[in-house]
Structure formats: structure tokens, C-alpha cells
Symmetry: C2
Subunit: 358 residues, 2 copies
């Protein structure tokens, strides 16, 4: 087992990464405050991993909520189901919520924990690669609104993130690829060596080589933990983690939540960001192709859906969280391994990027 | 004008109290971040005070949302109307929300601000006595769930509280009385001298004597500001501010939100808390009568609704925020001017209190 720490003073917490961790109750118990626990999972994950998790919670009063599976259910209505379960079972302020599943379960459970009785404890047990390398770490929680993704939410850090890499055995190929998009993102924004390592190891990762996956997860979590510790509330550097996300959120919202997986939309969005960077002369065209090639090998889309037009992108991007008073800021690339947040791009070139794929 | 400060480090903020403050834009402008502002009000308050508030915001891009009036609308559905207005008008992370109205508008707007794009700025312009002396100060925000009051929410401090005492001119008598319940609460929990002052001045307050009201508001806000600064997240002493609220929330939920005003339910709840304290011999019976007499003179109920039974109270109280693992904690009185948080009461005596009124 490998343990990283997200260093946030009195809200610091461990990320445990290893095989078979779902069989180790001693990893959970230090982080459970009271005796009441609510486990939130979904219809896909619960049949596979709810039982081992309940087995770790023998001494607690446990309630479970099983949500439908998919981004289209990450909304206020589903959130309210969690509140109702909490209240029907009289869970009090000392309770702990456990998110068992992918990014949707983690985000919605985290926001339920952030807002139930003005804030209770929660733990993350991510079971998808995407949740393991990205969404379970860093305390971003929330739900979608029909007019914008992740527009409703809170910063609320978990008490612990427990990553059992065995859960990846049951992940379907499309979900695995979606997770690889976020892994590749860390290489692109922060770590050219890691990007090169991914180019060497992408086939092993696709083939679910345990050691390669463990290495990719550790490196990804380590980069994320370091960035979150430096800028928890995204007033600066943390925004770099949104590479591809402004374009990607527009794709997810524009095509209807649940049709494109988040990682797929981010993959296409990262290529668009690289393309726009190259149009400014900031990034060699060969690096755009290098990024696209790796994403393609991972099994990911590298262009937005043909039916989306420039104006739809602009409409959806303007309500994105990265939009600010002084103009829409984007995360662009100066090199593979070096991203910047900037509003200093030319609108005409953005227009070219948005039209290039259509 | 009188200015108090809620001392919370880099989240400290002023409470301005005075006549005619709605005509002074310079009090708002230092607290508005970007150019985008959303003003949230309700059908009762907007016709009276929206225009002067918009007059203070001439240089900003202002959107307004008018909610229906009443506690029964303090729910996720109404909250979602605010999110929709924010997104339809493309308000970004640099925007500021302004709550113009009573406690319901303040609580729901505050929670919208806490959760929109994971947190934006907000200001409070409370127009009811209850909101001016209590709910606008301290950062408790949220909405109700059918199974429990204020069960969904966040701690999110405003940037400024602007109390124009002229707005009380248009407050109906029942709302004024409801506000006096919270004023009397401060005397009961913290300040025997203030309680005695209220006994001397209750008729002047009921008659809307401007000077008496200003004094009551200042003293109430001052006590609240001091307690909030010492214990923002209610891990200790802040719980004393909930005197009468565990019983009161049960009355509000049990009778259906909006039938009893919050202050009315708290008034009856405070008498129940005093009664339970007296049954333990902690408070002389004469002080129970003193508290009830002052509340009665203020025009408030001093007993719960006859149709509520012991079991209904216990059911509703057990999901109250003040319920903890080790048993339901209550705020009880050791004297007029001295409240305590305790689980050390006898269930048999609680049962007597719950049955006494029925």
C-alpha cells in the first residue's frame, strides 16, 4: 500500500492506494466520527462492492442509498434522495457519508455531506479510474444544473480517500479510457516526463497491467495533492487542472449529460486547447499531434461532436466557472508539461478552433 | 448610524444599523466584487424596497429574482429558481448576491451564494426585525426539507449587513412580534440587564418607538456578533442561540412550514425550555412566569399548538441539528441571563413538559 497526504493543515487527509484495501477496516475506522454511517453507491457499483464495504463497517449503524448510474442523475433531485435517506434514518451531525463509486457518486455525496446540517464528514472510495486519479481528491463537490455542469456545489474535503486498485478489474473499457484522459492531463499540464512515460506505457495501461495502473494513479494523485495543497479554493494554480474542461463541459452540457463521459469530453477539450495554443504559436503543431495521438491510443475522442457549432460552444462556455469579468479565461499550453491560465488569446483564433472540428 | 463588526479574521464584516441607510450606496459599494449583482427579494418586500436598492446599484449589471413570501417556500425548488436566474443571466464567480427581505430570503439567498459555482459573495439587507436581530448575522444559510427545518445548508458569511430601521415601518404587527421573540431570547440566554430593560420597554417596542427599536437591534446584534466571533461553526457556545429552537423547529415542521412564524414557534419553545428547566429545579418557577409574561406582552404564543403530541415532538426533535449521538442535547436555563447546553435532563421531566401544554 502506498499512502499520500493532501496537506491542508487541520483538514489534511490520507490517500491510500493499493490492492485489496476494501478488506482492511482499520483504514476506515480512524476517520469515522460517530456511529452513524450512510453509504452512497450506484446500481452498477453496489452489486460488486457494497458487500465488502459493509463488511468493513460491522460496528456501525449503516444506511445505504443506491443511485441510478450516470451523469444525467447528478442533479438536485438525486441529491434530495440522499437528504431524505439521511433524515428518514435520523442521521445526526456526527454522522459520516461514504461515497462508493465513480465521479458522479463522489461529487454528489460530497455535496450532500457539505450541506447536510451545514456540513458532516465524508470519505471517498472511488471505484473508477477517473475518480481515483482526479475527482475523489481535492474536495470539489457538487451537482449539475441543466444550464451548466458543476454549477452548484461546495469545497468540502473528505477525511480519507481509499483507492482499491482491484476495483478497476470490473471497470468497462470505455470508463477506463475516460479515466486515462485525466491521467494524460497531468502529463500535459505539469510533467513532461510523466507524459513520455505514458507514451511508453499506454498499451500496458489499456491492458490493465496492475503495476502500470498503480504507478499512474500514484503519480496522478501526487500531482493533484500537491496542487490542491497549494491552492485549495482555485484562486490561482489549481485552475490548471481544468485543462480541456471549459471545452469539455460545453460538450457534456451541449450533448446532454450522460452521452459523452466526462473523460471523453475532456480528451476532446484538451486537443482543442492544444490546437488553440498552436494557433497562437505557443505550442508546436507536432505537440498537438503528440497529445492527440496519445489520447487516441487511449481510446478517446480527439474532436468535439460534429453537431456542435461555434455559437453553442460560446454560449455554454460563457457560464462556465472559468469565465470571469474580464473575459473568458482558458487553460492553454506553452509546452507539453506546462499549462497557463490566460485571457490573452485572440477571439478570431478561438473561433477557428471551434470551427475546425465542425 | 451605528456600526458593529463581526470579528472573523479575513472574513470579518460590518453590520451597519440606522435610519435611511437604503439611500447610501457608499455603504454597499466596498463589498461588491465584480460588476454583476443578483438581488433576491419576495413579493411582499420588493414593491416596497426593491426600487431604492436598485437605486444604490446604478453602476452595476443587476438581475432580480422575486420569490413568493413564506417559510413554505424555503426549499430546494425555490433555491433552484435562483440558480436558474444566475445561469440564465450568466453571472460568474465574481458576482455578488444581495438578500433583500426577511429570514427566508436571507437564508435561501445565502445558501445560493454558498453553493453557486462553489461559493460567491453575498450581502444581507434584512427588512424584518427577526432578520435584523438574528438571521442576517452569523452566516447560517440554508433551506428546509419536508422532514426537518434548516437541514440543508452551509456556513457562509455575508460581506456586509445593512439594517435600515425605516423598513420596520411597513412590517405587520405579527412579524414585529416574531422578531421580538429573538430579541427576548438574547436577554434570556446572555443578559439579565437587557431582559429587565425589555420588560421596561416592551410597550415602546410594540409601538415602534424608533429609539427603543434601534437600541434593541444594536444590543441583539452585538450579543450575536460576539458569540459568532467566538464560535463560528457552533462547536460550543453558539448553540446557546438555539434556546427554544429545538422545540420551535418541531412546532414549525409539525404544523406545516408557514403556519407558525419562526419567532412564534421559538417563543413557545423558550417557554417550554424554561418550564423543563424549572421542573429540574434549575430555574425558579417565578422566572418561567417572568419569561412567559414578557413574551405574552410582546404578542407571542407561550405554549405549543394543542394538536401536537409528545411523540410527534420527540420524532421531530430527534432529527433536529441539536441531536447528537449521546442523546438529544437541549438549551436550558440556569437563570434569566444564563443558558446552558445539556443532555443531563430527565426524560420523564421532558415528557411532562411536552404533555403539560397538550
Amino acid at each position: 500500500m502506498h499512502t499520500l497526504t493532501v496537506d491542508l493543515g487541520d483538514r489534511s487527509y490520507p490517500i491510500h492506494i493499493g490492492q485489496g484495501l476494501l478488506g482492511k477496516p482499520s483504514l476506515l475506522s480512524p476517520h469515522l466520527g460517530g456511529r452513524q454511517v450512510l453509504v452512497v453507491s450506484n446500481e452498477t457499483v453496489a452489486p460488486l462492492y457494497l458487500e465488502p464495504v459493509l463488511g468493513m463497517l460491522g460496528d456501525y449503524l449503516v444506511t445505504t442509498v443506491i443511485l441510478p448510474d450516470g451523469e444525467q442523475y447528478k442533479n438536485l433531485e438525486t441529491l434530495n434522495k440522499i437528504y431524505t435517506a439521511l433524515l428518514e434514518n435520523r442521521l445526526n451531525r456526527g454522522c459520516t457519508l461514504i461515497a462508493l463509486g465513480g465521479g458522479v457518486v463522489g461529487d454528489i455525496t460530497g455535496f450532500a455531506a457539505a450541506s447536510y446540517q451545514r456540513g458532516v464528514a465524508f470519505l471517498q472510495i472511488p471505484t473508477t479510474l477517473l475518480a481515483q486519479v482526479d475527482s475523489s481528491v481535492g474536495g470539489k463537490t457538487g451537482v449539475n444544473h441543466p444550464l451548466g455542469k458543476n454549477m452548484i456545489g461546495a469545497f468540502h474535503q473528505p477525511r480519507c480517500v481509499l483507492i482499491d486498485t482491484n476495483t478497476l478489474d470490473t471497470l468497462d473499457d470505455r470508463q477506463l479510457a475516460a479515466g486515462l484522459a485525466e491521467v494524460i492531463k497531468y502529463g500535459l499540464i505539469n510533467d513532461a516526463d510523466f507524459f513520455a512515460w505514458l507514451e511508453q506505457n499506454i498499451d500496458a495501461l489499456k491492458a490493465r497491467d496492475k503495476q502500470a495502473l498503480a504507478q499512474a494513479i500514484q503519480r496522478s494523485c501526487s500531482i493533484k495533492a500537491e496542487i490542491v495543497a497549494a491552492d485549495e479554493r482555485e484562486s490561482g494554480r489549481r485552475a490548471l487542472l481544468n485543462l480541456g474542461h471549459t471545452f469539455g463541459h460545453a460538450i457534456e452540457t451541449g450533448t446532454g449529460y450522460g452521452n459523452w463521459l466526462h473523460g471523453e469530453a475532456v480528451a476532446a477539450g484538451m486537443v482543442m486547447a492544444a490546437d488553440l495554443s498552436a494557433r497562437h504559436g505557443w505550442l508546436p503543431q507536432s505537440d498537438v499531434e503528440r497529445a492527440a495521438a496519445l489520447l487516441r491510443r487511449a481510446g478517446l475522442p480527439v474532436a468535439p461532436p460534429a453537431e456542435m457549432h461555434e455559437q453553442q460552444f460560446l454560449d455554454l462556455m460563457a457560464v462556465d466557472k472559468k469565465a470571469v469579468d474580464s473575459g473568458l479565461r482558458l487553460i492553454l499550453l506553452k509546452a507539453i508539461g506546462e499549462a497557463v491560465v490566460t485571457a490573452e488569446y485572440q477571439p478570431a483564433l478561438l473561433s477557428e478552433t471551434l470551427n475546425a472540428a465542425a
